[in-house]
């Protein structure tokens, strides 16, 4: 018998000192949420998806609300779910207008395919009951500022400034 465990991360990167306490609060909340789902009898799949949803809803993290932006100011998100018993995969890329890409990836896992992309992934989500979320609910002042900094070359490259 193995002791159930959920481990979460909030992204690798530079983090400014101001970010640190907010990010630690976010990852602690996600780990506790995942643990609670397992303790109350939920599956390990439900527990890990619930933990990621906590962080997707937290504008502090580069996922869901608070995602970084494309060079033309758009949100295009990605997510992957993989289970280890049958090694089934559910994955979305370039998805927009949803709050929880990870929940859409979980739906894709039950298809005969593994990866759905871009407008088809977004359409699939809305056709399967995932609510439409307008861009302005996903874009934050911090992500707009980060894009501005990148465009003004105040930061060396996109990859080094925003965790994850």
């Amino acid at each position: 018998m193995i002791e159930p465990i959920i481990v979460v991360h909030g992204g690798a990167g530079n983090y400014t000192y101001a970010d640190i306490s907010r990010c630690l609060r976010g990852v602690r909340a996600a780990a506790i949420k995942g643990h609670q789902v397992v303790q109350s009898g939920g599956s390990i799949l439900d527990a890990t998806v619930a933990a990621v949803e906590v962080m997707e809803a937290d504008p502090e993290f580069n996922a869901g609300k608070g995602s970084v932006l494309t060079v033309d100011g758009k949100v295009q998100m990605e997510a992957l779910v993989m289970e280890g018993e049958h090694m089934k995969v559910g994955s979305v890329t370039g998805i927009t207008n949803v709050a929880h890409p990870i929940s859409v990836a979980k739906l894709v896992m039950d298809l005969p395919h593994s990866i759905l992309g871009f407008e088809s992934a977004t359409a699939f989500a809305h056709q399967n009951g995932i609510p439409f979320v307008p861009d302005e609910e996903l874009i934050t002042p911090a992500s707009l500022q980060a894009l501005e900094n990148f465009k003004n070359k105040k930061i060396s490259s996109a990859a080094t400034e925003i965790p994850g």
Binding site: V7, H9, S43, E83, S91
Partner: protein
């Protein structure tokens, strides 16, 4: 990028990863996160991983699959995670971090970036950190 991995009392494992991608990326850019073996990977016979960092490097180096290969060769979760992210930085450049659970419940957390926030509950204790060696 955010991630969650888990193992239940029967040894079933899951890997979940979600991201907005890279600040200032071209429209249409696909990163490592949606690609099994790069942004995440999971096999009940070996372990489960979620990776984060410079997506192009993680994608090219197949970070998550390499961690499972190290586990399969008998390396512990912490060492497997460290070897893969450091190997990536050395071989293709860029920074990365990953979280790993081996099939025996062993946890690995490593990163070559300045920081990576992480947390887990084991027993009734909450462990968390963000700086190296925490």
């Amino acid at each position: 990028t955010v991630g969650a991995i888990g193992i239940d009392s029967n040894g079933h494992m899951v890997s979940c990863t979600s991201t907005g991608g890279m600040n200032g990326k071209l429209t249409g850019r696909v990163g490592d996160t949606p690609i099994p073996g790069s942004g995440g990977y999971c096999d009940d016979n070996i372990g489960t991983v979620s990776a984060t960092g410079n997506g192009e490097s993680i994608l090219r180096y197949n970070v998550s699959q390499r961690i499972l290969a190290y586990l399969e060769a008998g390396t512990g979760a912490q060492e497997a995670t460290r070897l893969a992210v450091e190997g990536m930085t050395k071989r293709v450049g860029g920074e990365a971090g990953a979280i790993t659970i081996a099939k025996n419940g062993d946890v690995g957390i490593a990163f070559t970036s300045k920081r990576m926030s992480w947390a887990y509950v084991k027993g009734s204790k909450l462990y968390y950190g963000i700086n190296p060696n925490e």
